[in-house]
């Protein structure tokens, strides 16, 4: 009985029906929250007494970095579920998250570099977190490149799935080793996220942006899954009926 319910949940058709009414409000709410967060971050929040106005970059850099790491873990879990239980929707989910996660990683790297220039004096610093983020970007790109190199899409799903699973085990290891290597060579103490105790005027836009950006990424990923479904299930009757209407 419960198996039927689960099956209905992971069926492309019911996913399509659900996202029909779920996606637009998700997108709209996330955009509104992002606008509020940006307003607070750019206008209504205090400057850091050391970094001045550049601390406002934190409201973009930290949420996108968080989203990129969160995205990779979710992508790896989806890929694992797809690989182990051979659920097509799971593979579609992993594939849809990848470009969004890669975009967030890219954004985190770029804003990190832009933030670094006035704060540390150089465009790039081999800070443990930035370096791990760079490697994470390679992992995302590798996942997408491997998948697109396969002519048979389902084989590509499984191959990329193996890669994602191997990679996710490695991410904490990479971070630990980079942190260790970085503290070995560190000449100055750098704290990217600012002091641990943040005034509430800074915490609010930060948390707001984090929630908004993650919600936005989830919505975009879910939107991309719809495209995947259209592409892969194109011969199914329910799609023909839906599109001819």
């Amino acid at each position: 009985m419960t198996w039927q319910w689960f099956n209905r949940l992971t069926s492309p058709k019911s996913y399509f029906d659900i996202t029909d009414w779920l996606l637009p409000p998700m997108l709209i709410i996330s955009v509104i929250l992002m606008m509020v967060g940006t307003y607070l971050g750019l206008y209504d929040s205090p400057i850091d007494y050391q970094q001045g106005n550049t601390v406002r970059i934190m409201y973009i850099h930290v949420p996108t970095a968080t989203a990129s790491m969160f995205g990779y873990v979710v992508m790896a879990i989806a890929a694992a579920v797809g690989y182990i239980w051979r659920i097509k929707m799971a593979h579609m989910a992993a594939l849809s998250i990848a470009p969004v996660g890669a975009a967030m990683t890219f954004l985190a790297l770029v804003t990190g570099a832009i933030w670094g220039k006035p704060t540390w004096g150089t465009w790039w610093v081999w800070d443990a977190r930035l370096t791990t983020e760079l490697i994470l970007f390679f992992l995302y790109v590798g996942f997408m490149a491997l998948h697109s190199a396969f002519e048979d899409r389902e084989l590509g799903d499984r191959a990329a799935g193996v890669l994602a699973m191997v990679g996710v085990v490695n991410v904490p290891i990479i971070h630990y080793s980079v942190y260790w290597w970085n503290t070995l060579h560190q000449k100055s103490s750098i704290s990217v996220a600012g002091k641990a105790s943040m005034p509430v005027e800074m915490l609010t836009p930060l948390l707001l942006m984090m929630f908004a950006i993650i919600l936005f990424c989830t919505a975009i990923s879910m939107y991309r899954i719809r495209n995947e479904i259209l592409d892969r299930e194109r011969d199914k009757n329910w799609i023909k009926e839906r599109l001819s209407a």
Binding site: L155, R158, A159, I174, S177, W180, W181, L184
Partner: protein, 219 residues
């Protein structure tokens, strides 16, 4: 059974000897390029020699990864071996060991020569040898997963580096650091311990992942 598999692999590598000597020559040339391009100053070279030797060894070992599965994949032997040899894991392990013995170990053997060229202090030699022995073994292991995933693809070679290198970075960090630390007279047992742990973890997980990867590629 395993002995037969191993013998077969080693014989195969021996027959295409240039596959074995090419990485060595590449290793030699690459390391030699750095003093020419950067500086012949002995002290500066010594401080970066650990990293340079490690990166060059990594690149050289990666060059020969293709030979692990490609020939057998092309003529169908890989599929036969995996399905009919009783244990696909033994097949993979035999190939990994033969790759390490024919590529990794020769690299380790000539590394002291390169260390001298790079003015690495002699008391760092043990660190260099021990870290490289473990490091090349890990590379053969990780490379087998990457190779398994890309063996059936046309542009596999380029993709292989993209897949393997991020996974290898922790090994590179700790391996090169062991050599550099030894060069400065510091303790390096922690780095070696880390490498050993990474090796143990790879030995446990890689055969599984490799067999899964190859099964996908031979479909």
């Amino acid at each position: 059974m395993f002995k037969r598999l191993l013998k077969r692999e080693l014989l195969r590598q021996w027959r295409s000897r240039q596959d074995v000597t090419n990485p060595l020559i590449f290793f030699l040339i690459t390391v030699s390029l750095f003093p020419l391009a950067v500086t012949p100053d002995g002290e500066l070279l010594a401080s970066i020699s650990g990293g340079i030797i490690w990166v060059s060894a990594l690149l050289a070992a990666m060059l020969s990864l293709e030979s692990m599965y490609r020939d057998d994949y092309r003529d169908g032997t890989l599929e036969l071996l995996l399905l009919q040899s009783g244990s696909p894991y033994l097949v993979v392990v035999a190939k990994i060991i033969s790759h390490w013995v024919t590529t990794g170990i020769p690299l380790v053997v000539i590394s002291p020569v390169l260390a001298i060229m790079m003015h690495l202090p002699t008391h760092a030699m043990t660190a260099l040898l021990s870290s490289l022995i473990i490091g090349t073994a890990i590379l053969s292991l990780i490379g087998s997963v990457g190779m398994g995933l890309t063996v059936g693809l046309r542009q596999g070679g380029v993709l292989l580096s993209l897949l393997v290198l991020p996974l290898f970075i922790p090994v590179l960090i700790f391996g090169a650091s062991a050599v550099t630390a030894a060069g400065m007279g510091l303790e390096y047992s922690g780095q070696l311990a880390y490498l050993g742990a990474y090796l143990a973890g790879s030995i446990a997980l890689v055969p599984l992942a490799s067999v899964a990867a190859i099964k996908i590629s031979i479909h």
